[in-house]
Symmetry: C2
Subunit: 189 residues, 2 copies
Amino acid sequence: MSGETDRSRKRVLMLLERLGRLMQSRGHELGLKPVQWEALRYLSRANRFSRTPSGLTAYLGSTKGTVSQTLIALESKGLIRKKSDPGDRRAVRLELTAAGRRALGSDPLLEFAESVGALGKVGEGTLERNLTALLTERLEQIEGRPFGICRTCTHFEKNAPEGKPHRCGLLELPLSADESEQICVEQES
Amino acid sequence: MSGETDRSRKRVLMLLERLGRLMQSRGHELGLKPVQWEALRYLSRANRFSRTPSGLTAYLGSTKGTVSQTLIALESKGLIRKKSDPGDRRAVRLELTAAGRRALGSDPLLEFAESVGALGKVGEGTLERNLTALLTERLEQIEGRPFGICRTCTHFEKNAPEGKPHRCGLLELPLSADESEQICVEQES
DNA sequence: GCATTAAGTATCGAGTCGATACAGATATGG
DNA sequence: CCATATCTGTATCGACTCGATACTTAATGC
């Protein structure tokens, strides 16, 4: 590998690291921590099968113990609610409270959205494609889950049976139009 | 702003957040913490004017107190050395020890470099440009410093006076060829 | 010379994070 | 059918981050 290729890759890594850090450093607003914000964001975007401690653990690439602590903190702040799953009594279902949804309205990450917009439509598109490719490549190497949108999944069955709501072939459950746009632990492309 | 524009921006933000987190989660190797790795990387790339606690503080977008603690941890591990500046007795000069340089040889971020390489030369180039534009835009809004390469700075005076080494017009000091390639707290473009 | 500003350190409290150990619930396999 | 493995989540520990606040000491400005 040439020296310039090597340096170029490292420059990209430094940019990603620094942008990541910059986003995190703004994540201490309202008495929340960066990971706590990320958990709230996840819960607002994940479908009901994925809103569990283990789903969040996989998404964050963290560990059960750490996530458990984070969820305890969020619950004590009144931003999330835990309910035990009636079907599997080991499992815990998570959902945002009204206060949790309200908090996301002042998500510090929204400041950043403007800067993304300044790239223009074209730059934004290519950036999204490149970042997606990078993430996909990386996730394959570490056997991580993509957490893609339900609608694009191999298990997604559109209006099946005919004229009926969409369906998840893996979990054998009907899906609302809303749910098909959410992210899922089980998603595969 | 249309709903799709809004969603597109958020997708980019989520990608950046997630990639950042993914990079960090691999940053717990060898008993070091992600920020400690980042400090080592900084010290290996910053020129001598920038290798100070306050330089690192500005780079990380953190606070003096936090950085001070991080440096104490790194020094106790024998990875960096502190020397008091003879010119300004308030200031502390930082440098990597041999062990510190050796540690960077097993930087967990190197794993990630392969995934960047998988984008190909073109993808890598456009990604670097887009990320740079995003970072620049963002830094302007929060009045952060770019920490660009010395050679590209407005204060850089090439071979001045004629045939002599390069020079920094701001600090009024000569610069070696090596130093002109390093990053600097004072860099402006 | 005196106030201001700058560079670092010390300390506190809440929380992350990996590691380990654990509990209870559900699968699996003879 | 029951033992055993696996899965889901909690509890606890120690090192550390991080923002906040309160210092110390040194340089600078008037």
